[in-house]
């Protein structure tokens, strides 16, 4: 369903980002894998190779540096002549209670979770206009519309992504560029490693489906939103949370 398409995925080295990249590649897309260090993408690249998927383009650059982002898009576009999909997945989570949040953490969180996504959105949409359309998916979070104690900054960044999604979808719809967001709930990634069994159990209790989500649960929805199977879907924030917000 993604054959012939070029799909850009930030934060593709592990977890949800890696699963998204693999799902897109399994669908036939040539993926552009982005991480701060190219070596971190070896695992994703190896899995694609083992699966017989199209060879990815591997890039390492600072996603918060708008000039570096521009150069990356220019270099890839020169080769591929098309960018069909963008998944703004890269993100960081810094938990801290109010009164204990450092300015540095606020700035870094917004820089990675929001500003980087906006830089990518700008360049990708300009290139998508040249080929008559495309699809952009921003990976937000259930925290972006529900919030959680100790996650004021993270929640604020994810809410910002939702606002950007809604505005951009309206601006880009006339150019056949769709912009959607996904809002994962509790997903089995390294972010859960620090939780005690009791806390983890508490999280599971809040999920109607009674289980934690997998990165693949998120990836299949993102691949659908990138593909033309969702050709008439834009400006949506799709919860992937096992019924937490039902």
């Amino acid at each position: 369903m993604l054959g012939g398409k070029v799909v850009w995925v930030t934060g593709a080295s592990r977890g949800i980002g890696q699963a998204i990249a693999l799902a897109c590649a399994a669908g036939g897309a040539t993926t552009v894998l982005v991480a701060r260090t190219a070596g971190h993408l070896a695992d994703t690249r190896d899995k694609m190779s083992a699966g017989g998927f199209p060879t990815p383009i591997v890039l390492d650059y600072d996603i918060t540096d708008s000039v570096a982002v521009g150069h990356a898009f220019q270099e890839v576009y020169k080769t591929t002549k098309r960018i069909d999909g963008l998944v703004n997945n890269a993100g960081i989570m810094r938990d801290a209670l109010l009164g204990m949040i450092s300015t540095a953490d606020i700035e870094q969180s917004f820089s990675v979770n929001v500003f980087a996504a906006l830089h990518h959105l700008q360049f990708a949409s300009r290139l998508m206009r040249k080929i008559g359309g495309g699809s952009i998916v921003n990976v937000s979070s259930i925290m972006g519309h529900r919030g959680s104690a100790g996650q004021t900054v993270y929640s604020a960044t994810k809410a910002a992504l939702i606002g950007a999604t809604l505005a951009a979808s309206k601006e880009l719809a006339p150019f056949n560029i769709r912009v959607n967001a996904v809002a994962p709930g509790v997903i089995q990634t390294s972010l859960l490693d620090g939780l005690s069994p009791e806390k983890l159990d508490g999280r599971v209790q809040s999920i109607a489906m009674g289980r934690i989500g997998t990165p693949e649960d998120v990836a299949s929805v993102v691949a659908f939103l990138i593909s033309s199977q969702s050709a008439y879907v834009t400006g949506q924030v799709l919860g992937i949370d096992g019924g937490m917000t039902a």
Partner: protein, 78 residues
């Protein structure tokens, strides 16, 4: 030669007579050069010269003279 090419891009993208495209020709000087047309103009310049203009330069491109200056930064002899 590239100056003439750039003038052509401006004239065609903004639907303005070629002789109006001079260094002093500025953003919003004619109704056609609004923010929506600006992005189409940028796309046409990128296509013509095979470059990708950085966001700050997109914002800075406020006149034909400025456009010449910016294009030169991308290695285009102008």
């Amino acid at each position: 030669m590239s100056v003439e090419k750039l003038k052509q891009v401006f004239a065609v993208s903004l639907d303005v007579p070629l002789n109006k495209i001079v260094d002093e020709f500025r953003y919003n000087a004619v109704p056609q050069w609004d923010s929506i047309a600006h992005m189409a103009l940028i796309a046409a310049i990128e296509e013509t010269f095979d470059i990708l203009i950085e966001t700050e330069d997109v914002i800075d491109m406020s006149s034909f003279a400025k456009a010449r200056e910016i294009i030169a930064k991308y290695g285009i002899t102008i």
